[in-house]
């Protein structure tokens, strides 16, 4: 990845595309400030808050969805009283107290995605969402509902940067960034 000049402002929805190995995850991690190794150049970030959902699920197999989300809320300084409604949004309200290791791959992804709804609830409208493959293992209805939330986030002054291999069912302007071939 070379000579990349990207300017993301409030209200932007950026879709990063490219073949496997083209650096989509690396770019997202750099934007989040997690990864600086091998980075030449600079990243200036002037947003109020940030939410990063990586391709690793970020949830504990030995905890229930609710326990996972309580920690996720506390780590962000949010009040966990909205967890029930977030779990309902991702269709897991009946499974809130089952250990995550007994949930399917898609359901585990949904636990992670519940953070988007929590962020929407608690974080500043001008929050930058960095989402790495958010639609992996999610069914069609889930994708539609997620995309709608992303659209809302963009419309209220936030910004969304995501990687995905599938097309978004959205009717809002989308900026596409296509990264080059695999190294």
């Amino acid at each position: 990845m070379e000579g990349l000049d990207l300017d993301i402002s409030a209200g932007n929805m950026v879709l990063i595309e490219g073949p496997n190995g083209s650096g989509k995850t690396t770019l997202l991690r750099s934007l989040a400030g997690l990864s600086r190794l091998g980075l030449t150049g600079s990243i200036a970030r002037d947003c109020d808050e940030l939410l990063y959902l990586g391709h690793r699920a970020g949830i504990k197999q030995l905890l229930t969805p609710r326990e996972n989300l309580v920690w996720a809320c506390r780590s962000q300084g949010w009040n966990p009283d909205t967890i029930d409604s977030a779990l309902e949004r991702v269709g897991l309200s009946g499974r809130a107290d089952v250990l995550c290791q007994h949930l399917s791959a898609g359901q585990q992804r949904r636990v992670n995605l519940a953070r988007l709804y929590l962020s929407f609830e608690h974080q500043h409208p001008r929050t930058l969402w960095l989402l790495d493959e958010p639609f992996t293992a999610i069914d069609r209805d889930g994708v539609t509902s997620l995309a709608a939330t992303m659209a809302q986030q963009v419309q209220r002054g936030g910004a969304v940067v995501l990687t995905s291999h599938q097309d978004l069912p959205l009717d809002i302007p989308l900026r596409r960034l296509v990264l080059g071939g695999a190294a």
Binding site: A32, G33, L34, S35, R36, L37, L50, Y52, G54, R56, A57, G58, I59, K60, Q61, L62, L63, E67, V70, W71, A72, R74, S75, Q76, G77, L99
Partner: protein, 231 residues
């Protein structure tokens, strides 16, 4: 207290609760070091002969070397799960102070490894014929010493968590830092067993613990940042 103090406190409480819950649901990480300890302490009398006076002479050294190795075993996997499942990334991105979070993780780790070892140490010591009079000092040295070992071990665990085979490297990093603990802790027990005053060694251990509590979280935080960056 301001609102953000409350939020930090709630986060640290939630982290402690989460780590203890995880340890409770996967007890093997707690039990393994204890079993290792039991195994070695059982083997020693068979190896060097059952003569009580000879065993008693070696007991302080044996107990502390085994405690050190058990702690090394326990330290290695400390951040592994969090690294692999992505929780560590979330921790680094969270607005909460990483220094206090590192300290909380280490405290939780000590509660499920160092504390059980401290509580069971009189039993193991009796198997090695350590004089009963030295047991309180042994427990005191274990209490202080295992806490230092947990803090130092966390530094090594944080630095090597992104490596697939970090086992050897973590030993090289932290064993040199374990040595002062071994010298003073085993020394305290030996003094107590011989009828001398072990207070100087115990105070030195307490001093080392204070230093480790104050400084280790900086090193742990930096280690975690480097490891996640490299991952």
């Amino acid at each position: 207290m301001s609102a953000s103090d409350v939020s930090v406190g709630a986060f640290l409480g939630a982290s402690l609760k989460r780590q203890l819950l995880l340890a409770y649901r996967r007890p093997v990480d707690t039990i393994n070091p204890l079993l290792f300890f039991l195994l070695v302490v059982t083997l020693f009398p068979l190896g060097i002969g059952p003569d009580p006076s000879q065993l008693a002479e070696f007991a302080p050294g044996i107990l502390w070397i085994v405690a050190l190795l058990a702690s090394l075993m326990a330290a290695e996997g400390m951040f592994r799960q969090d690294y692999e499942d992505g929780s560590l990334e979330q921790l680094l991105l969270s607005p909460q102070p990483l220094y206090l979070a590192s300290l909380t993780y280490t405290a939780a780790h000590w509660l499920v490894t160092g504390l059980p070892l401290t509580l069971l140490s009189p039993l193991f010591a009796t198997m090695l014929q350590l004089p009963v009079a030295a047991l309180p000092v042994l427990m005191m040295s274990m209490l202080l010493g295992t806490a230092i070992l947990s803090l130092v071990g966390s530094i090594g665990a944080a630095l090597t968590v992104s490596l697939k085979r970090g086992g050897m490297l973590i030993s090289l990093i932290i064993v040199p830092l374990y040595i002062p603990v071994l010298i003073f802790a085993a020394g305290a027990v030996r003094f107590a067993a011989g009828g001398f005053d072990p207070q100087p060694q115990l105070l030195l251990l307490a001093g080392m613990l204070s230093l480790a509590v104050a400084l280790a979280p900086f090193a742990i935080s930096a280690g975690l940042r480097i490891s996640v960056d490299a991952g």
